[in-house]
């Protein structure tokens, strides 16, 4: 038994034809996925793509209508109890009790994982230490900042010593400082060897944290690979121009179009224009020449790999609400590209 386990360690997550329906709505539609252990896996997708349903399936909270889902070789339906001992879930809402202190919350969850009273106390103390919650540990969770609350929620999912941590949109609704706090915590956990599955619609979050990315849309996987692979799969580098005067943006866009023969994306009311450049550096030189001919002042011009944003947009044809606060440069094009 042990030898077979060691010989072929089972995939972290293995989904075959996973289908989940809520009434007439098909949330997951024959999803196929195999992820190796030892990594941070990000599930990306627009709102309603099935990200949360997938996490809930892994957490044994929904019963699939068809297909199979195994976590480290254990079936989420037939062996749900064993799966629950392997996982820790931190959902979209910080599921902590606001009238209890951070320490009380952690001790309660530790007891519910099966720790005895003393072990629960020790585990809570070590999680408090690891997530830098010392100062607030004995205050009621209701008084925490958003970032502190999420970190406490993260801590609650850790007290059972999970092999796989499930983080459903761990930074949604947090301010930039709060996001940094949570990111640091996630990186620390990953470095300590915890496997992590996280969903996000912030592309920079996946870029920051994930080893591998799975893009899902309409309940299916439409792309998977490392961040670098995904960027490479779109293939083309991108020319990005930041004009000095917003009034010249349209003119700059026309030049981009003439050179790259592709439609440029313009930041509405801003100063950035981008376009895929199949011709690489030759086209960059041509763009610079023509901008100079027309005397269009430029703050910055570059040839670069596509961002995950652009990959995502190319794959799904929608941008969701991704990224608008961190990279305002693309807010305009996302509005323009969305279906609504």
């Amino acid at each position: 038994m042990t030898t077979t386990m060691a010989a072929a360690s089972p995939p972290l997550i293995e989904a075959r034809g996973l289908t989940v329906r809520f009434g007439k709505v098909t949330a997951l539609d024959g999803l196929e996925l195999a992820a190796a252990p030892g990594q941070v896996l990000a599930v990306l997708g627009p709102n309603g793509a099935g990200k949360t349903t997938f996490v809930r399936s892994v957490a044994t909270l929904v019963r699939p209508a068809g297909g199979e889902l195994r976590i480290r070789g254990r079936d989420v339906v037939r062996d749900a109890g064993a799966v629950r001992r392997e996982i820790g879930l931190a959902g979209q809402f910080a599921a902590v009790e606001p009238t209890m202190t951070g320490r009380e919350n952690l001790e309660m969850t530790a007891r519910l994982f099966g720790h005895g009273r003393r072990a629960a106390r020790q585990t809570a103390a070590s999680v408090i230490d690891q997530l830098s919650l010392d100062e607030v540990a004995d205050r009621r969770a209701g008084t925490y900042s958003g970032g502190q609350r999420r970190r406490l929620d993260l801590g609650a999912s850790l007290v059972g010593g999970p092999r796989l941590l499930l983080l459903d949109e761990p930074t949604t609704g947090l301010d930039p400082a709060g996001r940094r706090e949570v990111w640091d915590a996630v990186r620390g956990l990953a470095a300590a060897g915890t496997d992590i599955l996280l969903t996000t619609h912030y592309l920079d979050e996946a870029d920051e944290l994930a080893d591998e990315v799975v893009v899902i849309d309409h309940g299916r996987v439409i792309a998977a690979g490392t961040v670098a692979e995904l960027k490479a799969s779109i293939g083309q580098d991108v020319i990005e121009v930041a004009v000095a005067d917003p009034a010249t943006l349209t003119a700059a866009g026309q030049i981009l179009e003439q050179v790259t023969l592709g439609p440029p994306r313009l930041e509405r009311g801003g100063r950035h224009a981008t376009a895929p450049a199949p011709g690489g550096s030759g086209q960059l030189a041509a763009v610079i020449d023509r901008l100079a001919e027309k005397s269009i002042g430029v703050d910055e011009i570059a040839l670069r790999r596509p961002t995950l944003d652009e990959v995502f947009l190319a794959l799904t044809g929608t941008g969701g609400s991704a990224n608008d606060e961190t990279t305002p440069a693309r807010a305009g094009q996302i509005t323009a590209g969305s279906k609504s």
Binding site: R111, L112, G114, G160, A192, G193
Partner: protein, 260 residues
């Protein structure tokens, strides 16, 4: 960035009792640490009792007994039907806010969620029952029997509290939102009002009397009244109803938690 060492995995899953205890402890802490909830429950029960006793009471004839002596035992027995909406709301809130998801992702029995909740809410209901009884005495109720009979009647009321808790829990679990849970819990008023609790059932129109007679609240209330007059008629029927409701609603709640 701090280094993070691995956290030990517990050797076994928690027992039913330990898990129920933790679920109960959390619900009790929430209740005790939210003073608004406690005050509201007391004010509400006093307000209704006051209205029945002093506003409607004068127009209701309860046979030989004075209305206050007729009303108070029944009112104490059914107070949970008025305050139980809070249970449905709390259960719905846990579901909507992700707390239930967290619990369900842990290696605990589904029954511990029901048992823990029932333990906690029954405890707060005992508090409601005691304060309501105190208001009853304050508004002029006098115990017609011995203290021992009074305690037996009180014990029966506490048993009902457990029954009603499980029923309200199921409402909260089936409600799609907190508001829906609030609305659903109003169903309890139908059973409370169309019973022998606040008016003699014989004063209702003939077509309504069968509902009053064959629904559980009437025998439950009558059993409490009979204990206070030193008899024990209806107690068997009341306990049978209580057992039936608990046996039906507890598995429904546990099953519903599984699918929540």
């Amino acid at each position: 960035m701090t280094t993070i060492e691995a956290i030990g995995r517990p050797a076994r899953t928690p027992g039913l009792l330990a898990a129920s205890g933790q679920v109960a402890l959390r619900a009790l802490r929430k209740y005790v640490r939210t003073p608004g909830l406690i005050i509201m429950a007391i004010v509400q029960s006093a307000m209704f009792l006051f209205s029945f006793r002093y506003v409607f009471g004068g127009a209701i004839h309860a046979g030989q007994t004075s209305y206050v002596d007729f009303l108070v035992p029944a009112y104490v027995a059914t107070i949970v039907l008025f305050t139980g909406g809070g249970i449905a709301v709390a259960v719905a809130e846990d579901k909507v806010q992700g707390f239930t998801d967290r619990l369900l992702s842990l290696p605990v029995s589904r029954y511990s969620l029901v048992i823990g909740r029932a333990l906690a809410d029954s405890t707060t209901n005992v508090w409601s029952i005691l304060t309501t009884a105190a208001f009853g005495f304050l508004f002029g109720f006098r115990l017609p029997a011995t203290w021992l009979d009074g305690l037996a009647a009180l014990g029966l009321c506490v048993a009902y509290a457990v029954v009603f808790t499980v029923v309200f829990m199921v409402m909260g679990l089936f409600a799609a939102s907190v508001q829906a849970a609030q609305g659903m819990s109003l169903i309890a008023f139908v059973f409370a009002f169309i019973s022998s609790a606040y008016v003699p059932a014989t004063s209702m129109p003939g077509w309504l009397q069968p509902f009053s007679k064959y629904q559980p609240i009437t025998p439950m209330v009558d059993a409490v009244r009979s204990l206070l007059t030193g008899s024990s008629s209806d107690v068997g029927l009341a306990l049978a109803w209580s057992a039936l409701l608990v046996l039906v609603f507890t598995p429904v709640a546990a099953l519903r938690y599984r699918r929540a």
